[in-house]
């Protein structure tokens, strides 16, 4: 029996796609797992500490299955994951997924506002710099980019706290929310802005926002530096194209040419740039989270890694991996929306 050839083709593409994703996950897990096992840290130490008598150390090593061959440990782990069991973190005593449900919203809130700031300011600035090449905005964008690349975020974060929190008192300090609200706000999504808005607790909302704004602006600044530079170079490329000359000859207004034609074309590669920046922020910025005492995914992942808490590391890695895969898919999807040629399955681009 022969099915409809187009259905066949779609299912073939879909099948190949699924295989690729599965292999990606397996590779991700394998690499993380084996790196985790070769780092010279004894995972038992994290659980029993330095003072445990030898028989306790040996017993815990057996309980963790660490005395089995590496490939067997890996096989056990993968089969558990397939059954939906990501294991328990030895550091927090919680199931790994519960920890991630707790830490990820903190990072998500920060990263989302960060990328909104980064893209919201970065794209217009980049466009402006490209249009007025060599002008004052171009210079500013260049300097901002340079700072963004060379100033350690750790230092800038502390300085921002000193200025905006300690001296001016414009924003809330480190942490996600004041202690006063800590137990009046019921976490539903874990996103404090959303939770407080849903409950109609506008004071808590304002407080959470005042805590969020500074680290988000900081992360936003760093992605702004990158996004504006990339926008500038994509725009310069587009503005040199023949269709721009043609449009000018047709007498279209300059702003229409820039925003409707050139930027629209520049958006195609820009979407990937933004998606990857967002992915990077969602991974959790360890340094920002440290300075701002922000209980996010980056801190969780780093702390787990330093203690060889492999269940937590692997669980968090899967999440980060999924984010990147998801964002890549999303940017591919946006590609086809933005670029009609990809819809026609043309090999261009």
């Amino acid at each position: 029996m022969h099915g409809d050839p187009s259905v066949l083709r779609v299912s073939k593409v879909l099948g190949r796609f699924l295989v690729v994703i599965l292999l990606t996950y397996l590779g991700l897990l394998a690499v993380t797992f084996f790196i985790g096992r070769v780092i010279p840290i004894d995972p038992v130490l994290a659980i029993v500490g330095d003072r445990a008598p030898e028989h306790v150390v040996i017993r815990v090593r057996e309980e963790l299955g660490l005395n089995k061959p590496l490939w067997e440990q890996f096989a056990i782990y993968v089969s558990k994951i397939l059954h939906g069991d990501f294991g328990t973190s030895v550091l927090t005593s919680n199931p790994v997924m519960q920890d991630i449900r707790r830490t990820f919203p903190a990072t998500f809130e920060l990263a989302t506002l960060g990328i909104v700031i980064g893209a919201g300011f970065g794209i217009p600035l980049g466009v402006w710099a490209a249009v007025r090449r060599g002008g004052i905005v171009d210079q500013i964008v260049r300097i901002m980019g340079l700072f963004g690349y060379s100033i350690p975020i750790f230092w800038l974060g502390l300085m921002a706290l000193v200025v905006f929190y300690a001296h001016l008192g414009w924003v809330g300090g480190p942490g996600r929310i004041d202690v006063v609200y800590e137990y009046t706000l019921v976490p539903v999504t874990g996103l404090l802005l959303l939770d407080s808005a849903r409950a109609g607790q506008w004071q808590a909302f304002g407080n959470a926002l005042s805590h969020l704004i500074l680290p988000a602006a900081l992360l936003g600044y760093f992605s702004l530096a990158y996004i504006s530079r990339m926008t500038r170079s994509f725009m310069l490329h587009e503005l040199g194209q023949e269709y721009v000359v043609a449009a000018r000859a047709k007498g279209l207004s300059e702003s229409r040419i820039i925003w409707r034609h050139a930027l629209r074309n520049a958006m195609v590669p820009l979407v990937t740039v933004i998606a990857l920046s967002y992915g990077g922020l969602l991974e959790g910025s360890v340094l920002t989270e440290t300075v701002f005492a922000w209980p996010g995914l980056g801190l969780y992942l780093t702390n787990s890694l330093q203690n060889a808490d492999m269940n937590a590391v692997l669980g968090a890695t899967i999440i980060v991996g999924s984010i990147f895969i998801g964002l890549n898919l999303l940017s591919d999807l946006l590609y086809t929306m933005l670029d009609p040629r990809t819809r026609a399955m043309s090999p261009a681009r």
């Binding site: 004894d42 029993v48 003072r51 008598p53 550091l91 005593s93 202690v179 800590e182």
Partner: protein, 538 residues
């Protein structure tokens, strides 16, 4: 024409930038100052892995346990040699020194409302031995095992119990060990109601609470928050504060900012630089206490050069103790060259060593290495350890010793140290319980130096074979005359100072900085004796 290029975006940029800076501000700005009935403490507590007193053995967890769980006896924070009854009303020791009898105070209650009786005390001690987690050795060193603990720790009446040890230990030693967290009393009825597959409630208690202390645990979110509340059914003086909230703030500079803005009441992990800076602020005060933690360099005796007696001694003359004391550990430590920290019975304060390169050179020549040698140090990349190691690298070079520093993360260097593959290691050791045996046991005892030894104390980790000193340490713990016992520890320390492969550096001083409206804050000598329930706010 060109001016109209960015009519929208220019205006938009300006307003958006302003909005960004001011949107959340005004009425929404974080209100400084914490509530009057709530104490907010910034504390780096990423070491906490459990809230079960039978398992908790980390520094930060110790402090929480001390505030939320009661035990039979506690020691006086101002005079650690003095014990007082916590839930115990009275106790006595049998003439042979092996049986300890306790009588509890009447009408005690857990935070759950359940009665606290001898049954709970016996259950808690047995449970710690049966679970056999890391701190269980503090109890099992009295001869308890999973097989015999039900006979050795027995309830004799509603409010009475006996504990029978296998040897006649110094009574102070046994009682001191009962002040430790592992001997904390848990609510038998509550814990057993949460039991799964005979785990004695272990899975549940890791993140929950079943105690009777002056404060009770409301919530622990790892690396985020520990929230304690007043326990209104506590038998003694109730906590003046309704709530104590610990916030995990890893970065010292961040803690300082929070304290200066009075968004927290107490900062626990400031660096010497931060402490110097806040000392100028009249609204901030500091308090400090010598802790039971000592820092040292140790020389692995598996390295044949380091195993020479003269080389061991030479290293002790190659540390610039006074420079380190005046700069690197200013405010956070005092030079201390003995394995017993000040505050423990028999602790010596003799510090005979100072930087003397000539003396060290002469010793090296005598050892047959007049031109020095190459050696590595495994070092954690944290202060002040890093600064001390770098200073030592410089002074050792003056005697021709070429020190290579191998930096690493804490768990990484420790893994190597425990495998005995280091040359030199810079480490720290905190007393496990408030008795001199805790440090004698690790620095001056090495009953079996084999690779698969049952116990692996610090002496073992440096492969230091000491049958004589081990015998002395074993004898000291059985000495029931306190004055004689003290003398024995002093003798051991003299021997240790001269011959050991440990270059003892300093004793830690813990400092906390707090807002001036905080009253009654006193840091305890051990991690579990910093009592927040005695603190109040004006």
């Amino acid at each position: 024409m060109k001016r109209s290029l960015f009519p929208i975006s220019r205006r938009w940029l300006g307003t958006a930038a302003l909005a960004l800076l001011t949107a959340a501000l005004g009425g929404m700005t974080a209100q400084a100052a914490t509530p009057k009935d709530t104490l907010v403490v910034a504390f780096a507590f990423d070491d906490i892995i459990t809230m079960d007193p039978a398992e908790a053995f980390e520094i930060s967890a110790g402090e929480i346990m001390g505030n939320i769980y009661d035990r039979l006896v506690r020691f006086d924070v101002s005079d650690p040699s003095r014990l007082y009854g916590d839930v115990a009303k009275a106790w006595s020791v049998s003439p042979d020194g092996k049986t300890f009898s306790f009588e509890l105070k009447p009408d005690l209650k857990f935070a759950s409302g359940n009665d606290l009786t001898a049954e709970d005390v016996v259950f808690s001690l047995q449970r710690a031995v049966l679970l056999d987690k890391t701190p269980a050795f503090i109890l099992t060193q009295f001869g308890f095992s999973k097989a015999n603990v039900k006979d050795k720790i027995k309830q004799t009446g509603p409010l009475t119990l006996t504990i029978e040890t296998d040897k006649s230990f110094a009574p102070s030693f046994v009682l001191n060990c009962l002040t430790a967290n592992v001997a904390a009393i848990v609510d038998k009825k509550l814990v057993l109601s949460k039991e799964q597959n005979g785990d004695l409630g272990y899975g549940w208690l890791k993140t929950n609470y079943a105690g009777s202390g002056p404060l009770k645990l409301r919530e622990w979110r790892a690396n985020e928050i520990v929230a304690l509340e007043r326990n209104d059914s506590y038998y003694g003086e109730k906590s003046k504060l309704a709530r104590v909230i610990y916030r995990h703030v890893k970065e010292a500079a961040t803690q300082r900012l929070l304290l200066e803005k009075s968004d927290i009441d107490i900062a626990r992990n400031l660096t010497p630089q931060d402490l110097a800076a806040v000392s100028a602020n009249k609204d901030i005060r500091t308090t400090s206490t010598p802790k039971g933690t000592v820092y040292y360099f140790s020389l692995n005796q598996k390295n044949p050069t380091l195993a020479k007696a003269e080389v061991r001694e030479a290293f002790k003359w190659l540390v610039d103790y006074s420079a380190i004391g005046d700069t690197l550990i200013k405010n956070i430590g005092v030079v201390h060259q003995n394995f017993l920290p000040v505050g423990l019975l028999g602790a010596s304060t003799e510090n005979p060593y100072k930087l003397d390169v000539d003396k060290a050179k002469a010793l090296l020549a005598k050892a047959g290495v007049p031109n020095g040698f190459k050696v590595t140090v495994d070092m954690r990349t944290v202060q002040p350890v890093q600064g001390i190691t770098e200073a030592f690298q410089q002074t050792a070079k003056r005697a021709g010793i070429d020190v290579e520093i191998l930096p690493g993360d804490g768990k990484q260097t420790l893994t190597k140290y425990r495998a005995r593959t280091h040359d030199i290691y810079i480490g720290q050791w905190g007393a496990d319980y408030w008795d001199p045996h805790t440090n004698a046991d690790t620095f001056a005892r090495n009953p079996d130096n084999a690779d698969d030894a049952k116990s692996k104390p610090l002496a073992w980790r440096n492969s230091w074979v000491i049958p004589e000193l081990t015998k002395k340490a074993d004898a000291a713990v059985l000495e029931r005359d306190a004055a004689k016992r003290k003398l024995m520890y002093e003798e051991m320390q003299a021997d240790f100072r001269k011959n050991s492969p440990f270059v003892m550096l300093y004793q830690q001083i813990e400092v906390a900085a707090f807002r001036s409206d905080v009253e009654g804050l006193k840091l305890g000598p051990t991690s579990d004796t910093t009592y927040m329930f005695r603190v109040s706010k004006r």
